[in-house]
Symmetry: C2
Amino acid sequence: MATIYEVAKLAGVSVSTVSRVLNGRSTVNQQLKAKVDNAISLLSYSPNSVARSLASSRSNSVGILVSEINSHFFCNMLTAVELTLRQANKHSIITVGHNDLEQEQEGVDFLIGRNCDALILHVEALTDDMLRKVNRDNTPIALINRVVPGMEEACISLDNELGGYLGTRHLIESGHTKIAYIAGPTSKVDANQRLAGHKRALKEAGLKIDQNLFYQGNYLESDGVDGLTELLKDNKEFTALVCANDWMASGAITCARDMGLDLPKDLSIIGYDNDLLAHLLYPQLTTLHNPIYDMGEMAAKYILNTVYKESNPIKNLFGPELITRNSVSPLP
Amino acid sequence: MATIYEVAKLAGVSVSTVSRVLNGRSTVNQQLKAKVDNAISLLSYSPNSVARSLASSRSNSVGILVSEINSHFFCNMLTAVELTLRQANKHSIITVGHNDLEQEQEGVDFLIGRNCDALILHVEALTDDMLRKVNRDNTPIALINRVVPGMEEACISLDNELGGYLGTRHLIESGHTKIAYIAGPTSKVDANQRLAGHKRALKEAGLKIDQNLFYQGNYLESDGVDGLTELLKDNKEFTALVCANDWMASGAITCARDMGLDLPKDLSIIGYDNDLLAHLLYPQLTTLHNPIYDMGEMAAKYILNTVYKESNPIKNLFGPELITRNSVSPLP
DNA sequence: AATTATTAAGAAAGCGCTTTCTTAAATGTG
DNA sequence: CACATTTAAGAAAGCGCTTTCTTAATAATT
């Protein structure tokens, strides 16, 4: 790899001049600029961004840390973030934290050590204090799916409670009154919010909350199977089932079919997230759209605003939207 | 952020000594080491990897460039690569090329400029020559799903032809003789290989290749719908359908159901890739497993061997495996 | 024409580390 | 005890850039 010195030598100018044409800042004489450009292409020179970054303490790249990378959900988010940043000529450095405190911590350190101009995080293990500290220490942060007190304007999140409410209300409006629920893990804020919305809808309709119609799941497909199996025991009565995410709904659908139920006539099912799989299921799943793509885009735009002087309008709270397909049937 | 100087000052030693304990190379006096360790934790010092990388021209990170990041396929691969590297204490810098020559080129330059010790690439636009050049220029490369003459040992690929053969042979063994085919784009090597395998199986069984039973698709779900619609026109006779990937098979299944066909009795369908969606479809899809996770892991191991002196056994060619589910029914 | 203000380009310092070179101390040898 | 050999720690150079500081040349002002 050629260095800036070789370019300067070949062009017969100083390195400062080369640096200037490289960065297009101060005006450089046209002829000199031409010479430099020529030398650059002759040597097929490409500046070393590590050196650049060290010297300028900027890097034109933002660090992205996600919990996992093995689901469509995160891919969707990453695609949006990467694309938005790329369009602004910024690079993405993507790292994975596996929901583990140590790994998330290490990931953040790595990204900061790499001179990232900012971070976009989707993390669970790091505490609010840690996040606030990083933010104070001169590395701007955007947070997805999390609200940290004191840095609200940097948080892009989803109104999970509203989604929970809308889903259950849809069932109620379709005539259902006996509604079972398979919940997500209590350790996750979003799962609790979704459940809270469900309860609000029941309450509003004057329906009682029946602990017999509740199953504690963990967001996995198998929890849908186990949950519905459990709920169907003892001939409990219900005509509709709310699952806190689409994967559990998928498991429930498989289970219901295996039990010989005719969907959606015998049982209406509703999911959450509008994952890619929702429209592949049979019957196609009615669910709540989780606009994670848009949220990723928004987080990127927030960073472009704070670090790179753009001025995009920012929206911090996103609303889920009911997507009606074929897994809910009205009760007469 | 504290620097190595502050650590040295606080510990009362020279920066060289701090650097030595940091890198654990030459022996350092126990007492001094203790002092340094103490100073490090007192200042919660974390070395700047940009500076480190510039000084040592190593970075302990490998660059990963993939075509896209919005599919389960790539996520799977990335997960494997990231995990394998992480376990060896190496970091991953992930970038996306969007199958565009300029973007792929830029991505490679970015990663090299970031002093990546090596690259793992899943690219289509970059030419063989370009890849060989990068490889010669001192940046070791591993290639996934591509074979570049002259650097075979760095290429991890799938025997697509074999998969094509196995799928069609499975149908033939189940008694089918009239088999339609929805192909992937001719611009993709893997698509052509899959088709070649299909033809070999037909030939071997003495069946003729019928152009009427062929549809040219593009790997999209909608191509499955369009393809089957087209094939069903004019009452063409066939009892089985091979799709060059699972997404097209998914489209075909939806289409078949919409046309009132009873699957798999009226039509056997087989896919390719064993994408996550395969087991969600109804009927669950018989398909060929594409071991992309294992391939990603292998590519990472190859890099660990060449750059970081490990010595894992390397396998360059992976074989697909038939996964039988419920979308193929035997003909009497 | 003499002075000041502006501009363009070079010189050099510095970003935060690693690593080679040097020096001083500790150890071994006859 | 004088000398050679090994070892541990510090000094300093350098990685490839950016950016501030200088200086020289040009333009503007009175």
